[in-house]
Symmetry: C2
């Protein structure tokens, strides 16, 4: 693995730089790309900030988001390509090919089990967000954190930590948040834009999904169903089902929450979340899917009731392994 | 107004100390009472920590919560009574009478327009939580922040700031959070207990409340009704309605959200929240209530439909003042 100092030095000595996050972009990848892109621009570099996936509307407030490249950059070859918040070439969409069209590739990520995608790689799975690593890198680049950069880094950190709530948040994460606030951002305004501008359809769909909650006899597995008729009733958009599964997980005693979302007649995208200990990546794998220990998913075709029975049975086995039911 | 130094000096020179929060206790008042109570105990004081209202189950993890006095303390007279997170005698329930049975009364609060309830008062409406003021006071008392005190202060701060999200959160608030984490608390564990251990009844009630959402024609005011029949249907407990009002506020375009909660036949506790600019303390004041600019409430007796019409009309006027509808 390379050090952040080596990465900063390479960037200092490079002219044209392509920065990319991953498909299905989130606040951490967009905020990290925007913050580092802005910092490199301040150093006079020729910068292309890329997003291989469509940028969700709630990030439209981010500085420079309008300059993001989602199709094809103006140049074919770069001195450096930086991949942020991801280490898999197949999550780079269109931009994957620039891995071979850049003299150097830098990969910075905080996910578990990263791939050495770059010739310089910096991985820290203890970082609460890629934005935390980018914060440190910008310091090494000797760029001061202005309000625009701060807004991007703040977005990266609060989206990936659930507002400083999740397990990997440390005292250092909070101190970084303090420095970003001191740079002059409207933090509560950013939080409102990120978390309090849900479409009415999404909120009403949440009500309907809650009505569908079922719980295993011992209370350790909770599941919800969102079928095509519900999506139609609320004219729900893509993205309106994000976060629904967390509602079921917040129920006292629930260790695994499951969302069955019908994406085509008889085809269900199934998401799994665990609260404390159960490894839902194993659960998803049994049905041809995958993911992380606390968040995973799979897609299954079939009759809902039969599918539910099979999956709940397997979920209860996963819970039993960690002694919760 | 007194200084925190004067308050610390009085506490240093006192023997028996009664600490009380307010009725319908929340994380800030319970965490503040528990943290300051623990600090004073460490200084050898005779301490009674009181809660005039029943303590919601999700706070049962707080250190010393089992020692809280909810009925009648063992002694009749105190050297000092400290009122925390409240400055109204009628919000002290049973414990209001100790205002006259204490040689000194200290009042510490962060709400707007406080009453000078004590002979020593410290008010800071810029503080994000009373727990922030107590954090500083404990420093002046020269008590080190151990993990127990830290867990109480962390709870006070995260519950009143929505995890460092709301407007009054400053860089200093985040730095206090960092110091509390460094004291050795399990912050993500506390967050799980606070926010991810909701009774099933509370989650189902949320679904029903979402079903009741109504929106003003321009979309700037959203309101929900939770009546006694709904509370009965889900065997809802006190506390199960906490947070419901925030769901309505997260709808895109909503500036004021309102929850009508029936607490006795024909008697409604009405809560108001605003998103950006509207001052809902003015709105609550029109109906005999009060609170903050972003969060306020009142209690009204009457017929629901008539009450709704009146209150929504006034809410729209408040929104109009800030140019949102």
């Amino acid at each position: 693995m390379s050090s952040l100092e080596e990465i900063a030095m390479l960037l200092d000595n490079s002219g044209s730089i392509l920065l990319s996050g991953h498909v299905f972009p989130d606040g951490d990848c967009l905020g990290s790309v925007a913050a580092l892109g802005l910092a490199l621009k301040k150093k006079g570099k020729e910068v292309v900030m890329a997003s291989p996936g469509l940028i969700p509307g709630n990030f439209s407030f981010l500085p420079v988001i309008g300059d993001f490249c989602t199709e094809k950059p103006a140049r074919e070859f770069f001195d450096v390509m930086i991949v942020l918040d991801c280490s898999e070439s197949d999550r780079l969409g269109n931009f994957g090919r620039y891995l071979n069209q850049s003299a150097n590739v830098i990969c910075i990520d905080h996910h578990l089990e990263p791939n050495e995608l770059g010739n310089l790689n910096y991985f820290d799975s203890d970082a609460a967000a890629t934005g935390e690593i980018v914060f440190d890198l910008i310091g090494l680049l000797d760029v001061s954190i202005d309000p625009e950069i701060a807004a991007c880094l703040y977005t990266a950190i609060v989206t990936d930590t659930g507002n400083f709530r999740y397990e990997k948040t440390t005292a250092a994460t909070l101190r970084k948040g303090a420095i970003l606030m001191e740079a002059g951002i409207d933090a509560s305004g950013i939080n409102t834009l990120l978390f309090e501008e849900n479409p009415l359809s999404a909120v009403l769909l949440m009500g309907a999904a809650i009505n569908s909650i079922k719980i295993s006899p011992g209370g350790s597995v909770a599941w919800m169903v969102v079928d095509l008729s519900m999506l139609a009733r609320y004219s729900a958009q893509d993205g309106d089902t994000d976060g629904l599964i967390n509602v079921a997980r917040t129920i006292k005693g629930v260790e695994i929450s499951i969302l069955f979302r019908e994406i085509a007649p008889g085809t269900y995208k199934i998401s799994f979340r665990s609260k404390h200990k159960a490894d839902v990546s194993l659960l998803a794998a049994k049905f041809g899917g995958g993911g992380h220990a606390r968040a995973s998913g799979c897609t299954v075709i079939g009759e809902l009731e039969e599918m539910e029975a099979k999956i709940i049975k397997e979920a209860l086995l996963e819970v039993a392994k960690v002694g919760k039911e």
